[in-house]
């Protein structure tokens, strides 16, 4: 990622509109690939998509994007160019930075939203669908269905069973490590909690911080909560807990915090003052041995270091569940209720779900893997291959705490609560009681 940034920093290439002729050629080729990708996905799909594509020769639609980083921004631009080349439909893009986009989604969707916008799967999708701010897109999915496995299909539905979402890519959360460090010190990848603790002790004896940990921004620690909960209590309980249907002050949640406390001595000092980038730096510099984070941690590794980075799934705790669940947030697109150009918007969503569109996008994004079954794996990096395999091999896919529950609960209750736990790990009882009271107030039950 870092490399891509630097190579793209020439003034002529960075300017948003300045597209070199070479790029247009590339895009043209991608457009051809797009056609191929769609036709490969089944006869019925081909029939429907081509009829959609034919019907609007020169319409336009609009796209609200949270991809403000230069690399994904350019990737989307390429995707839209392929779309326009294929269908003649123009796409007006409004780009807002990721965090603002997310925090403003409420007012954005009620204001003047674009037809199609970037969004996330999970409760976060269902919430806005239920509030009537999204348009159901079952007709788009009649084309897309054969191209996605059931996990992605389910993640795209609202609580009412209708489709509201087109997935683009996903990335798993796992324990990252440096292969060279493990080889040098003879560390073995832990499969069970006991092995994990033993490894931590060994690393500590070697003068290495076993687990890099950083939670200044509040959200990274949620990944640890999620995985511990799913390992200890199982996926089904986790999802019910996130939906507010299980008590927070019961024995099960206490067990999660108590287990977490066991590994706190092995995590970075002063985690609450560290950004994830500083945590990643500890892993880069071999000051730390492992790091529980999404695969985007790879953005901090450059050159040879990038090839040295690997990950493994979180060790099993309760043999009942083994390693059957993983946090793998899915990013994709939804259609606003206020969409003006319904037909063109659906046309765009159909294209965005296609393997062709994902191929174009993923070329520039080596840390995510494509959601579409037919996405070309030939160009996948080792990380992408492993990510896809890890997710495909998991029975259950969670979306991450702040995507699986009400956003207000995640940000105003859970972030402070987890930070309080990290400050006072021994006071679990009063912590879970406080969470439970606030949960009741927010969920209303």
């Amino acid at each position: 990622m870092s490399d891509a940034r630097h190579s793209s920093s020439g003034p002529s290439e960075v300017s948003a509109t300045g597209v070199s002729r070479r790029k247009l050629l590339v895009t043209g080729a991608a457009g051809a690939a797009a056609a191929y990708g769609l036709s490969a996905s089944g006869a019925s799909a081909r029939g429907l998509s081509s009829s959609i594509f034919k019907s609007a020769a020169a319409g336009s639609t609009s796209f609200g994007s949270n991809a403000s980083d230069p690399v994904p921004k350019k990737a989307y631009a390429n995707v839209f160019k392929a779309f326009t080349a294929k269908t003649g439909t123009k796409v007006d893009v409004n780009t807002v930075d990721h965090n603002t986009f997310q925090e403003q989604i409420n007012s954005y969707l009620q204001g003047r939203p674009q037809d199609v916008f970037t969004w996330f799967a999970g409760y976060r999708l269902q919430f806005f669908a239920q509030k009537g701010l999204l348009t159901p897109i079952d007709d788009v999915w009649s084309t897309l269905k054969p191209q996605f496995n059931s996990a992605f299909q389910n993640a795209s539905k609202g609580a009412d069973g209708k489709f509201y979402f087109v997935p683009m890519y996903a990335y798993p959360w796992a324990l990252h490590y440096r292969k060279s460090l493990f080889a040098e010190k003879g560390y073995k990848i832990p499969k069970t909690w006991a092995q994990f603790i033993a490894l931590c002790k060994k690393m500590q004896a070697d003068g290495i911080t076993p687990i890099a940990f950083a939670d200044k921004d509040g959200w990274p620690a949620m990944g640890t909560f999620d995985i511990l909960n799913m390992r200890i209590n199982g996926y089904a309980f986790h999802i019910r807990l996130m939906a507010g249907k299980e008590p927070w002050n019961g024995a099960k949640v206490k067990a999660v915090f108590n287990t977490w406390r066991q590994i706190l001595p092995y995590t970075s000092d002063g985690a609450l003052g560290l950004t994830w980038q500083e945590g990643a730096a500890q892993l880069v510099n071999k000051e730390a041995g492992m790091y529980m984070l999404g695969t985007f941690v790879g953005q901090q590794f450059t050159g040879a270091d990038a090839k040295d980075l690997d990950f493994f799934p979180y060790p099993a705790i309760n043999p009942k569940w083994g390693q059957d669940s993983v946090d793998a947030p899915i990013d994709g697109f939804a259609m606003s209720r206020k969409a003006k150009n319904t037909k063109e918007a659906k046309q765009l969503l159909t294209f965005l779900g296609s393997a062709a569109a994902e191929n174009i996008y993923l070329k520039s994004d080596p840390n995510n893997f494509g959601a579409n079954k037919n996405v070309s794996k030939a160009r996948y990096t080792a990380t992408q291959k492993k990510s896809a395999a890890l997710v495909a091999g998991s029975k259950n896919i969670a979306q991450f705490l702040d995507r699986d529950t009400r956003p207000d609960f995640a940000s105003t209750v859970m972030i402070p609560a987890i930070q309080q736990f990290l400050n006072k790990p021994d006071d679990v009882n009063s912590l879970v009681n406080s969470i439970q009271k606030q949960k009741k107030a927010i969920f209303g039950f």
Partner: protein, 300 residues
């Protein structure tokens, strides 16, 4: 009109010989100034370093390379010229309107004795002192419902329009300027307008012909302050402007932070670029700035 005592510093400057106490004072001020400058200087210094360097070696390290790359990238990635222009579209009309509204109210309050003068001052002053978070939800909901002709606002609403952003800044800042200007106008001798009134000049003539020109120093001072505040505002723009390409420069800076990855050195470079206009405005108008800022002055 020539005899008007403005509050501009008119004391004769007598350079004193350097006494011991003066030397101590200078030493103190220099040390303090260094402390004041150090964080900014450090940030500026870092903005010349590539991210890869500081990520690897930490920020407290000897720089391998110094370059303008961050500035170049920030300039194009953050689309500085576009967003700077947006900032000007919001800031300059807002300042003009604020000063105009504030001087009208200040004129009425300071040159006439109406029963409602004090309530009026409270009405304006207090509005400026409220925390902006307090009113954001209703303002947002109102802006979604206020239609504007499309030549004023592409969206057809006050929401997501420059007009809306200007309006909220004007409403929020007018109070402070009203207060400063009314104090300033009170220092203007009443005899000035008295003569004009005897000659039969209307209040509007007195206002535009006599009072407004005399308020120039106060306008300059307030323009500097308001420029800084509105230009640096980020709160209103983020909530009330949904189009990324219409955002003023301060709120658009966040566009340099990625979903996960943030190149802080790049942001530092962008932030330095963004800060330059305010520093420049202050440096250019410093003399008028302090001279024109009259906050309950007792000197006449």
């Amino acid at each position: 009109m020539t005899t008007v005592a403005t509050t501009e510093d008119t004391r004769p400057v007598r350079k004193r010989p350097l006494s011991v106490s003066r030397i101590i004072l200078h030493a103190f001020l220099i040390i303090t100034a260094l402390f004041w400058l150090a964080p900014v200087a450090w940030a500026v210094f870092t903005s010349f370093r590539p991210y890869a360097d500081t990520a690897k070696n930490g920020y407290v390290s000897f720089p391998n390379t110094l370059s303008l790359d961050n500035y170049r990238n920030a300039w194009s990635q953050a689309e500085i010229p576009l967003h700077f222009w947006n900032s000007m579209i919001v800031t300059l009309p807002a300042i003009v309107l604020i000063l105009f509204f504030a001087s009208m109210v200040a004129y009425v309050v300071s040159r006439f004795s109406f029963w409602f003068n004090v309530p009026l001052l409270i009405f304006f002053m207090a509005a400026n002192l409220l925390p902006p978070q307090v009113i954001i939800t209703p303002v947002y909901q109102m802006f979604l419902r206020i239609p504007l002709p499309t030549w004023l606002s592409e969206s057809g609403l006050a929401y997501d329009s420059f007009v809306g952003l200007i309006a909220i800044n004007v409403a929020f800042q007018t109070g402070f300027c009203t207060f400063v200007l009314s104090n300033y106008m009170k220092t203007l001798p009443k005899s000035l307008t008295e003569a004009a009134r005897v000659d039969g000049a209307s209040v509007t003539r007195q206002f535009f012909g006599i009072i407004m020109p005399l308020c120039k120093p106060a306008f300059a001072a307030l323009a500097v302050l308001e420029f800084t505040w509105i230009y640096n505002d980020f709160f209103w723009a983020v909530v009330l402007m949904s189009s990324g390409d219409k955002r003023p420069i301060t709120s658009s800076l966040t566009g340099l932070s990625g979903q996960y990855f943030t190149d802080n050195n790049l942001i530092a470079a962008a932030a330095v670029l963004v800060a330059l206009p305010t520093i420049l405005v202050f440096a250019l108008l410093q003399r008028q700035f302090i001279g024109g800022l009259t906050l309950g002055s007792t000197k006449e």
